[in-house]
């Protein structure tokens, strides 16, 4: 994946020089290991700050909302699906964008890496094809990248960008994933009270920082329902009822729109697996409507269309 960096720089430089775009959105190398920072480049001479590795976990689509300029943007499979969703939902126009697609081999789960080195201080991580090496003061260990992918990347079946103007590298065959929703099935199998306990326990560390919501490209509402003050729908304290209300309502707002990019889970400072909420909805939308978000610019999402032949009585 590191080999993409040079190509990305060249492409961005060219796009900025020939004025195909006004700005280019990508990542720059982070100041701490396993972290890169989204960056906006508007000067071709600064294209060399762009960087790519398997720690580009924050979804760049976040930075497109309501921009008015012409934008070059990197897009992996999930990011490109979010861009499609953004276009469908009128948050950006297709003709403003020059999408540079990246066939993605998945992002590495930084928490899993920390656990693997027994939480010792990691000073440097270098990637080498299918493996990566983690260095600290008194250790140097190499791991197989496949084993340490983020959970959403392990079950991803859209690693190639779906919408793009050019692709860096060569698109590859999508992986076959069996039992992609094993986690959802497991929760589904619980009795109601156990399910409630499971979710209550899951969010018990939540500090209401809203990193999950703000890392999500779907959460672009000018005022989120939790921030409404007249009327105020949700309390501001860390009362578990309010916290649960936030998480469940937010998840429902993502139904039929979520691409399972994993940005929410990655952003959470206390490691809450928030995808457990959205994945059930993704599965339902797929089972009921054969829908996966962001695959086509020409189809409306199932929850914003009306069909006279809908199988539900109440809507007819």
């Amino acid at each position: 994946m590191v080999t993409y960096t040079d190509e990305i720089r060249k492409t961005a430089k060219k796009l900025l020089e020939d004025k195909t775009v006004d700005v280019f959105i990508g990542y720059k190398k982070g100041t701490v290991p396993m972290m890169n920072e989204p960056v906006l480049v508007s000067d071709a001479d600064k294209a060399d700050t762009l960087y790519w590795d398997s720690f580009c976990g924050l979804n760049l689509c976040n930075y497109l909302t309501k921009r008015t300029d012409r934008i070059g943007i990197l897009a992996t499979g999930c990011n490109s699906r979010n861009i499609v969703t953004h276009i469908i939902e009128n948050q950006i126009k297709r003709d403003q964008l020059y999408i540079v697609g990246i066939p993605c081999t998945g992002m590495i789960d930084h928490r899993a890496v920390l656990r693997a080195v027994k939480e010792r201080e990691i000073l440097e991580v270098t990637e080498n094809g299918d493996s990566f090496t983690v260095k600290g003061n008194d250790f140097n260990e190499t791991f197989d990248k496949k084993e340490y992918l983020q959970a959403n990347c392990k079950t991803c079946t859209h690693r190639n960008p779906v919408e793009y103007d050019e692709v860096i590298g060569t698109p590859f065959e999508e992986q076959e994933v069996s039992e992609a929703y094993r986690d959802v099935e497991k929760i589904k199998g619980m009795a109601s009270d156990k399910k409630w306990d499971f979710f209550t326990q899951m969010i018990s560390n939540c500090i209401r920082c809203y990193a999950c919501r703000n890392a999500c490209p779907l959460c672009y509402c000018p005022t989120c329902f939790v921030d409404e003050s007249g009327p105020q729908w949700v309390g501001k304290s860390i009362d578990p009822t309010d916290t649960m209300t936030f998480h469940i309502l937010r998840a429902y707002h993502c139904a039929g729109r979520c691409t399972d990019c994993g940005a929410c889970e990655r952003a959470c400072p206390v490691g809450i697996p928030v995808r457990q909420f959205t994945r059930k909805l993704n599965k339902d939308v797929f089972d009921l409507f054969k829908w996966e978000a962001g695959l086509s610019l020409d189809e409306r999402p199932p929850l914003d269309v009306y069909r006279p032949d809908d199988y539900n009585d109440f809507i007819r």
Binding site: V32, L40, L58, Y63, C209, N214, S237, V270
Partner: protein, 348 residues
Amino acid sequence: MTLKLFAKEQWLTTLEGLKESYKIFVPVRDGDFHTFMPLDEGKKPDFDYPNTRLSPKSLIYPQSERIFEYSLDESAPDAHILKETEKDYSPRAIVGIRPCDAHAFKIVELNFDSPEYKDPWWVQRYESTVLIGLGCNDPVSTCFCTSVGGGPFDEDGLDVILYDLGESYLAKGLTDKGEDFLAKAKGRTKADDASIKRAEELAKSASDKISVNVPVDRLKDKVINELFAASFWEEVAFSCINCGTCTYLCPTCWCFDIQDEVIGKEGDRIKNWDSCMFPLFTLHGSGHNPRDNKFQRVRQRFMHKLKYYVDKYDNGVQCSGCGRCVRYCPVNIDIREVCKLMNSYRSD
């Protein structure tokens, strides 16, 4: 100043024995990270830890705290009268707090306990708490306490400091409160010269391990309006997603919001942490928001910590160098880098 030794294998027994005098908080591993919990909650303390994920500020200044109660029942004689919610200010000890987090309490004390204004809840809880620090033998790469007036064995704000000597802790009493804690602690022995020497060496080698130097020396001389109008804010703020991770994990962020919550006719007035990263933080009743843009909110956070506080209190920066915001910012906005930009800024 008392110097005592505690054998590590006896340490938990010592702390158990102190439970009669204090409610004891200790670092406990909870999933992927550490957090301070009361000693009596059945989880094993773990003092071999870099730092807690969330700062211990919540022990003095809870994220949500009921401050008043009231009744809206018109037939009640005390209808609409605010009554202070009963609180527990019995003695507490935070054992194993890192020096940066204790230093942070001194930084925020200037705000919560000033000659003009006192936050009675913060002040009473702070006064009833004894801080038993644990020096950092192995600071991590994001630590920069030495740049902001602290250090891995800095004693400012602590009542006792512990040196981890491997098999034992050397405890040094720093205040009357701390001496009192040590006097009550069973299993202490007098510290021998070799242990004292070893502790001094540890402190020296720990400081040397912090190679990061974040320059803060010129912040005070900058002109506020020039820094405010600096050209770099938009760029600094680009990647920010305006979540509250930095402010909520920060041991020195003190902003709060007051909310009333009513169920039936019974109401509570609650003090909640707030964050300058949230647009709602400055939203006026009129609908106008003076910090409507993301870069304005990001600028506010850094200007408050690294300029307004510096100018107002002449007490250094409002940052204890714990590095939590550096490590856990979802988009890698790094206060060390922003501080460099501000400290070296020249308007042309």
